[in-house]
Amino acid sequence: MYKLLLCWRYLRTRWIALASVISVTLGVATMIVVNAVMAGFSHEMQTRIHGILSDIVFESHSLSGFQDPKWHMDEIRRAAGDDIAGMTPTVAVPAMLSFQVRGQWLTRQVMFIGIDESTHSLVSDFGSYLQHPGNRRQLSFSLREGGYDTFDSQAEGGAGENGPTRPALEAAGWTHRRMRVAREKLWREKVGARADSAAQPSRPIDQQVDAVLSATSPEDSPPTEAARRDPFRAARPEEGETMDPAKEQFTGIVPGIGLASFRDSDGVDRFLVLPGDDVKITFPTAGTPPKAVTDTFTIVDFYESKMSEYDSNFVFVPIASLQRMRGMIDPQTGIPSVNSIQVRLKPGANLEGVRDRLRKVFPAEMYAVSTWRDKQGPLLSAVDMEMAVLNILLFLIIAVAGFGILAIFFMIVVEKTRDIGILKSLGAGSAGIAGIFLGYGLFLGLVGAGAGLAIGLAITWNINSIRAAVEWFTGQRVFDPSIYYFFKIPTIVHPATICWIIVGAVAIAVAASVLPALRAARLRPVEALRHD
């Protein structure tokens, strides 16, 4: 009983010991915050990856793919039908995307993916990553008139406090396409006019654009005077009849937003191309050896998964068009080929179990069956590794705090030597004396860890306000959304992690008090009583 009483009295009267506990508090608080933020990032990333990839990917090793996806899908259903929620075939080939920006051709290496627009949303969150609300409901590869979101629809708070972050998308769609066609036409006209004569008085440029715009609006079909006098048109008279870019589009594609835009330091996205613009894509045909073919496509939307690896790499196209263009449809039977089949499982299904069942049915020499985790294994394990290393480092901070406790406890034992002698003279045993200091260490550990818990949770729950305050105070961006593609710092607090941190911190505090406690226990009462 006296142990409890004395621990409590020492706790209330020895402020120096509390000072040693501040480092435990800081260590615990830091660990809680760092773990919460890391878990937040990791969770966000996994959600993203899982949203992009379906649960299980069934792939062919060959670029030409395998024939008859319907038969394969039936077989898959036969092998694991109970767990399957949806399936969709895809064709993925490496390709090159080229587009013109201010007269200069930019070329990007991309993954060109043919998807089935009616079923693709069944297997992944693909739909929710698009920029047009209509496409988010049901994807269409036809260009929309307008109405693309001018803000990040996935960011909490939507438009944000500083107005739209993507003002350029306001004009995207058919509006942009007609405007661009008109501008190109006007440019050609001007070049032609300069060739004709310089004598004609010219109208202001905006009036000219308006005139051309009204001439090319959809309800107004007869070609204008200006169009008729187009020297290029005159040189290739059949062009206008086969394709009028102001009224028609090429095959629609949905490129990743990272291919077409960049974020400036104000957090505003600037676009190199917009929905409505045409781009050229060069891709290999099926067959051996593959030949490169190039075709023109029209951007109809952007894909934004917030995983820059995907956003700057993927271009989606209707699967039927890609199969046709690559020659993946058997000319005699009309049976198409595909590269892979994406499978989504029912909630609660055993991911690895289904994968293993499919691996048994389909020979590994021809097909690769993998889960989304397998696909991103290195990335996920790298994140886990990073978390583990960080935790070890932070725990060392608490261990350092343990040495602080050790030093201060030794001091207290020396200071209390006489009291220890008194207690022994009153019949307290060595174990009891050691118990006082171990209990004291436990109390201090609990106080330190408790305070650390409170501070850590307070910081975690208010981390975005703290970030804003720090940014306001220092004038520097602490968390740059253009790097992370998040608008807020994500945090997740796992109770189990917190328990481990607190148990660890308390254990270190107790461990640090073992040596001083032993020293106190070993004091000889006569010498202790003589101590001043």
């Binding site: 006296y2 009483l5 008194i422 022994k424 003279s425 019949g427 045993g429 009891g432």
Partner: protein
């Protein structure tokens, strides 16, 4: 130890030797001490500073171990018991009072008196006995005129008051023997006399066996018997 004396002695010290090694040589502090205390007896141990009288008292109080010889309580040897049993004896059978009072500064007067009982009992046991123990401690402090100072910390008390708290603490366990080491050494004459009267009264009225160490012959004369230590040996008076 098979003495045929009518009252068997309460505390017996036989052939006690104690050496301290300091620097190169050894210092012989006690060179074979024999003496005994009868139940209800009051023995004063006197001697010059450094004559080993405090060391003898510490050995009797089991705070120190002799190099040779034995200490017996009720005819049973106690100096070679295991540590736990010696702790127990210190807590139950022996009450000690020191020159420097040796109160715990973090505790109040009442808690200081309760300290031996707190040490004796575990938490559950204490919760059961707390009320009775408090009552007992309060009565003791009342008896020594400290009824109004229960909640005071030692630094708020005078020297005489602190020593009275220390005596109350030694008595709260109802010990078989009280060992007092220069209890008046740090006090002025009046306070010292008060403390000495209290100790004498404990012997006369309550029949408590007492060993008192002092260098003051006047104080020693209040005892039934005086044992004089000179150069580590008993010199009969």
């Amino acid at each position: 130890m098979t003495d045929s004396a009518a009252p068997s002695p309460l505390l017996t010290v036989q052939g006690i030797r104690k050496n301290y090694s300091s620097g190169g040589g050894t210092l012989e502090v006690l060179r074979g001490i024999d003496f005994q205390l009868e139940p209800g007896g009051f023995v004063a141990i006197v001697g010059q500073s450094g004559s080993g009288k405090s060391t003898l008292l510490h050995i009797m109080g089991l705070l120190d171990a002799p190099d040779e010889g034995e200490v017996c309580l009720d005819g049973e040897r106690i100096d070679n018991l295991p540590a736990i049993r010696r702790d127990r004896l210190r807590n139950t059978a022996i009450g000690m009072v020191f020159q420097a009072y040796h109160l715990l500064p973090e505790l109040t007067a009442l808690e200081n008196v309760l300290a031996p009982l707190l040490i004796r009992h575990g938490v559950m046991e204490w919760l059961r006995r707390s009320a009775a123990a408090h009552e007992q401690a309060r009565l003791l402090l009342d008896r020594f005129g400290l009824g109004e100072r229960l909640r005071h910390k030692p630094r708020q008390l005078s020297g005489g008051e602190m020593q009275r708290v220390a005596i109350a603490r030694a008595l709260v366990t109802q010990p078989r023997v009280l060992l007092a080491d220069e209890p008046t050494g740090n006090l002025d004459e009046a306070s010292g006399a008060g403390i000495l009267d209290a100790i004498c009264e404990l012997n006369r009225r309550d029949g408590l066996s007492i060993v008192l160490v002092t260098h003051d012959a006047a104080i020693a004369s209040r005892a039934d018997r005086i044992v004089r230590l000179t150069a580590g040996r008993v010199e009969l008076v």
